[in-house]
């Protein structure tokens, strides 16, 4: 060794070296003993796999409705899986016997064993939901005929109400590789069941339990000698929903009925073969006092049971196929539509709040209206002049031209005052339009509330496309429009934009949940509740975690504005109002607003309201895609729902 730092240090280093050398000797001696002296014994044990570990899956918590009724339950399912490594040289024979037993072709089993994503270290499931006698047969003859084949009993989801509330409940599936890489699922073993949609997904951590293990000692012939240890799985917590299954069933049935009815209605403009396509729709019922979702329906829907045990690619592709209207899509939160005239509630509030109208102001309702009195022409929904009316009456009769006039007044004031975003744009956000509300369901999308800043941002993102398309456009009108949009003027929030926004058209988009929330906000006088579908987590030990209501915003509406809105919305459902035919004399008095939102194809039919009008317990929104008018298609659905709600209240 070279010269040490000093002698004392060298002594101490030598001591350390001696210590480490002796540690090395001890390790080698022990390895010698384990690997050479006793190696044969261990090799024999290893050959037999003397101790076998079985994973015991934890049952997920159940999903209950607000009254404790079971929406999603568990059942025990027999499965058959294989560990190829344990079959040894009998692999071909074992697979052949297993195929015969299960009525499969041997190649099908081989395909499943060799499918990508399967792991050599855990059993590959070959058959799911096999009859008990087959499972027992495999179990009894495992050591003789079926080495490496396991019959297992695992908990899986069952759906006593079939498709009811499928979008809310969601479904489960085997955890994917990407999910395992993320934080929330980091501790899960491959093959674990996790929530993939609905509350199964958003409340997965509560519903999922903790898996257990059982270790069995196996003798040389492969028979179980004894149980070495067992850790029982801990079941997940039950999730209590805010949803009432009776109301949910009622809403789903009446929405479906409304869609069927719309398909028989004549389209006055004879599009799509004369009737309405009405392929899809959504309905939401909220408790306006706390944002609890009492019912949420989206059509078309799906059967969550199809996902139990794995779903085929073809079947899954159908469920997300836009041509089939993507049944997996929860339209109540994952789709956004122009809300049409329902939005006049917002425009009215903005005009009242900022003094552009008072409860007593009367405005003309002509059949057509011109910007600035002589500019671009905009039509009312009816060519007839309906005479002067107050704001409340404008809501009742859904007079577009009144709102055009208000839109122009507000727009001009904004331009003069240099307001960044307009009165209506700001008001919309106070009603819960715009960003997603934060409901505890996956994939809730944002709405769009256009305004000056939105327009500028949008133009910055799209103006290259406008310019490119302007050069290619064949049609002169289209080219003029695109050329304008290409220039700096394209970033301007124009009067026409404000006019469109005032009646809920143009670039405005909202989810049905947002529309229901906006009516809930009228009903409770200005509080935007964060909608929620889960009410409480019920732990197996009896502890209950209530999930509290949360307000997104509180902007109390002043009494005068409330009076105008309530009077106008109550008028809508009275004889002579736009929904008078459908809703006058309903079992609970309804206040609300129709909407007929123009689309590229047939109009989207809306009705959104609350009931009972004097002390609201329900806020309701219904939309039917390509369904016709709000008064003709959506309002009757709400009538059926409200008539069904009244008798249900007696039970409580």
């Amino acid at each position: 060794m070279p010269q040490p730092t000093n002698e004392r240090t060298q002594v101490r280093l030598t001591f350390l070296a001696a210590l480490l050398l002796s540690v090395l000797v001890v390790l080698l001696a022990r390895l010698w003993f384990v690997q050479i002296a006793a190696g044969d014994r261990y090799a024999e044990i290893a050959q037999r796999g003397r101790i076998r570990e079985l994973a015991l899956e934890a049952p997920r918590g159940r999903i209950l409705d607000r009254r404790g009724r079971v929406l999603v339950d568990n059942r025990q399912v027999h499965t058959i899986g294989v560990r190829v490594g344990e079959m040894g040289d009998r692999r071909a024979a074992v697979i052949g016997d297993l195929a015969t037993l299960l009525g499969l072709r041997p190649q099908e089993i081989v395909d499943r064993i060799e499918a990508p994503g399967t792991s050599p270290v855990r059993p590959v499931t070959i058959a799911f939901d096999v009859p008990e006698r087959l499972a027992l047969y495999v179990w009894e003859h495992q050591s003789t005929w079926f080495p490496g084949v396991y019959a297992d009993l695992v908990p899986r989801r069952s759906y006593p109400h079939d498709r009811l509330a499928a979008h809310i409940a969601g479904y489960t599936g085997e955890v994917t590789a990407e999910q395992l890489a993320r934080d929330e699922h980091r501790d899960l073993p491959p093959g674990a069941q996790v929530g993939m949609a609905g509350v199964e997904r958003t409340h997965d951590a509560s519903l999922r339990g903790t898996a257990g293990t059982r270790r069995l000692e196996i003798d040389a012939t492969g028979d179980v000698v004894r149980q070495v240890s067992e850790r029982l799985p801990e079941p997940g917590a039950d999730l209590e929903l805010t949803v009432d299954l009776d109301i949910q069933r009622l809403v789903e049935e009446e929405l479906a009925r409304g869609l069927r009815r719309a398909r028989r209605l004549d389209d006055p403009e004879a599009r799509a073969g004369g009737a309405f396509a009405a392929p899809a729709g959504a309905a939401v019922v909220l408790d306006p006092t706390d944002g609890a979702v009492l019912a949420m329906a989206s059509l078309p829907t799906f059967a969550p049971d199809d996902f139990v045990g794995g779903i085929s690619h073809a079947r899954y592709a159908n469920l997300i196929d836009p041509q089939r209207h993507a049944p997996l899509l929860n339209r109540a939160v994952q789709a956004a539509y122009p809300p049409g005239s329902v939005f006049k509630i917002v425009t009215s509030t903005a005009a009242l709040r900022h003094g552009f109208a008072t409860p007593d102001t009367t405005l003309a309702c002509p059949g057509t209206w011109r910007w600035g009195g002589s500019g671009q022409r905009f039509r009312n929904w009816t060519p007839a002049d309906m005479g002067a009316m107050t704001l409340a009456e404008a809501l009742t009769h859904s007079c577009d031209t009144v709102y055009y006039e208000l839109a122009e007044r507000m727009w001009r004031a904004e331009e003069r005052g240099g307001t960044v975003d307009g009165h209506v744009t700001g008001e919309a956000q106070r009603y819960g339009y715009g960003p997603a509300l934060g409901v505890d369901l996956p994939g809730e999308r944002d709405g769009v509330v256009p305004g000056r800043s939105w327009r500028r941002r949008y133009w910055q993102e799209h103006h290259d496309t406008y310019c490119a398309r302007a050069e290619q456009a064949a049609d002169t009108n289209v080219r003029t429009l695109l050329t304008e949009l290409c220039g700096p003027d394209g970033a301007r929030w124009r009067g026409g934009d404000a006019v469109n926004l005032s009646i809920g058209q143009g670039d405005l988009l909202a989810t049905p949940l947002q529309v229901a929330t906006s009516l809930s906000t009228v009903a409770n006088g200005g509080t935007v509740w964060r909608p929620r579908v889960a009410a409480a987590v019920r732990h197996p030990d009896g502890l209950v975690d209530e999930i509290p209501a949360q307000a997104v915003a509180r902007n109390p509406l002043d009494a005068a504005a409330l009076t105008v809105l309530r009077e106008g919305l109550e008028g809508v459902t009275a004889p002579g109002g736009t929904a008078g035919d459908a809703l006058a004399g309903a079992a609970l008095p309804v206040a609300g607003k129709t909407g007929t939102a123009e689309s590229a194809t047939q109009p989207y039919a809306w009705f959104a309201g609350y009931a009972p009008a004097e002390a609201p317990r329900y806020a309701i929104a219904v939309v039917v895609e390509e369904g016709g008018s709000g008064s003709g298609t959506a309002a009757p659905i709400v009538r059926w729902i409200v008539d069904g709600l009244a008798p249900l209240e007696g039970d409580r």
């Binding site: 040490p4 350390l16 050479i36 796999g49 050599p120």
Partner: protein
């Protein structure tokens, strides 16, 4: 794998000083680790396996850090110690708040796709800072006050690590502290007092219920394999021992280690990686592996002895101690020599932060070597 750890530069007119034996042994261990991680996670040798790709990224980072440390005079890089130490403390505190629990311990920070184990950074930081402190305080000999200061510096990160709880890493810090005090010249009687204090503190922790149940259980299982085994600790020990034993003299052949491949042994790409090596390459393979570690230890101690100053001696010897205790525990727990504590096999186990930390310590040794008289 070729390491260009030392830039082509002559400072003293002598030949470039590069410990090729240390570099070669380190490279061999890292290569073996890559291969075994691939086998343990995918069942074959696959350089594109996700774990191997991540480990390779960590290797690139670790080699870069080691190269930088080797190129800079250790007396200058040691000045980084206070900063690293402060950063380590902050991150160790942070991990208790926002860390995600893995196997019951909050040891990991997740920064997007990157996972980071602050306790590994702390290993290097504490090594450097303790070396800096002890070399300053050693004249004429370490006083009880000096020892207390050193212990206090070590105690802060140790306390935070115990809260995770990560008992294995806690032990590594203890071993490091004792080794440094020993080399720095603390009186043996002072070290004995320290040992008594440690025993009493452990007893108190036990009494005050500060020790996690699973740790008590692991110890109980180690002392008596028939003790109850709800967590499956004895099962893991037995299965690991079966795997090692089944290896025999020359092993069951690469990729033929059913005991590990079929999932009987847990964590077989991290803490229990030695079982894969022992099962598939037998006693012969284990001897080669331990021989490589012996080379690292030998060269490290040789560098410590030839160091130009006490700081260099402490840096090299401390690195040796950290690597050696980890090897002892990671191998010992697979053959029933020590309780299941859970430590990675340095340079070999899967785990990027651990690899980077180990390489950094090798880099420090190389730096000391370069400055040797």
């Amino acid at each position: 794998m070729v390491f260009e750890l030392v830039p082509v530069r002559r400072s003293t007119g002598r030949a470039r000083r590069r410990d090729t034996v240390l570099i070669g042994a380190t490279g061999a261990l890292v290569l073996i680790g890559m291969g075994v991680v691939s086998i343990a996670t995918t069942g074959r040798l696959d350089p594109s396996a996700p774990h191997v790709v991540r480990q390779t990224a960590a290797l690139a980072l670790g080699a870069g850090i080691a190269g930088a440390l080797a190129a800079v005079d250790h007396r200058r890089s040691a000045l980084l110690a206070p900063v690293l130490y402060a950063a380590a403390l902050v991150l160790l505190g942070l991990v208790l708040v926002v860390g995600s629990p893995v196997n019951g311990a909050r040891a990991w920070l997740h920064l997007g796709p990157v996972q980071f184990q602050p306790s590994e950074l702390a290993k290097v930081a504490v090594l450097m800072l303790l070396a800096l402190l002890t070399q300053e305080r050693r004249e004429p000999a370490l006083t009880p006050r000096g020892i207390a200061a050193v212990v206090a510096v070590a105690a802060a990160p140790m306390g935070l690590i115990l809260l995770q709880p990560d008992f294995g890493t806690f032990l590594v810090f203890g071993a490091l502290t004792v080794a440094l005090l020993l080399i720095a010249g603390a009186a043996v009687r002072h070290l004995l007092v320290l040992a008594v204090i440690a025993v009493v503190a452990t007893g108190l922790a036990w009494q005050l219920d500060l020790v996690e149940d699973y740790q008590v259980e692991r110890l109980a299982v180690f002392l008596d394999a028939d003790a109850g085994d709800p967590q499956g600790t004895a099962y893991n020990t037995i299965q690991a021992q079966i795997a090692v034993g089944a290896g025999g003299l020359f092993g069951r052949g690469l990729l033929a280690g059913e005991q590990t491949a079929l999932g009987y042994v847990p964590e077989h790409h991290t803490d229990f990686i030695f079982t894969v090596i022992a099962e598939e390459t037998g006693f012969a393979g284990a001897v080669v592996l331990l021989g490589l570690y012996a080379l690292v230890v030998w060269r490290g101690l040789r560098i410590a002895a030839a160091a130009p100053d006490m700081l260099g001696t402490l840096l090299a010897a401390g690195g040796v101690a950290v690597i050696a205790i980890q090897v002892f525990v990671a191998v010992g727990m697979t053959v029933g020599l020590v309780p299941v504590i859970g430590l990675p096999l340095p340079l070999v186990s899967y785990g990027g932060t651990s690899l980077v930390a180990s390489l950094a310590m090798i880099g420090l040794m190389l730096s000391v070597h370069r400055a040797a008289r």
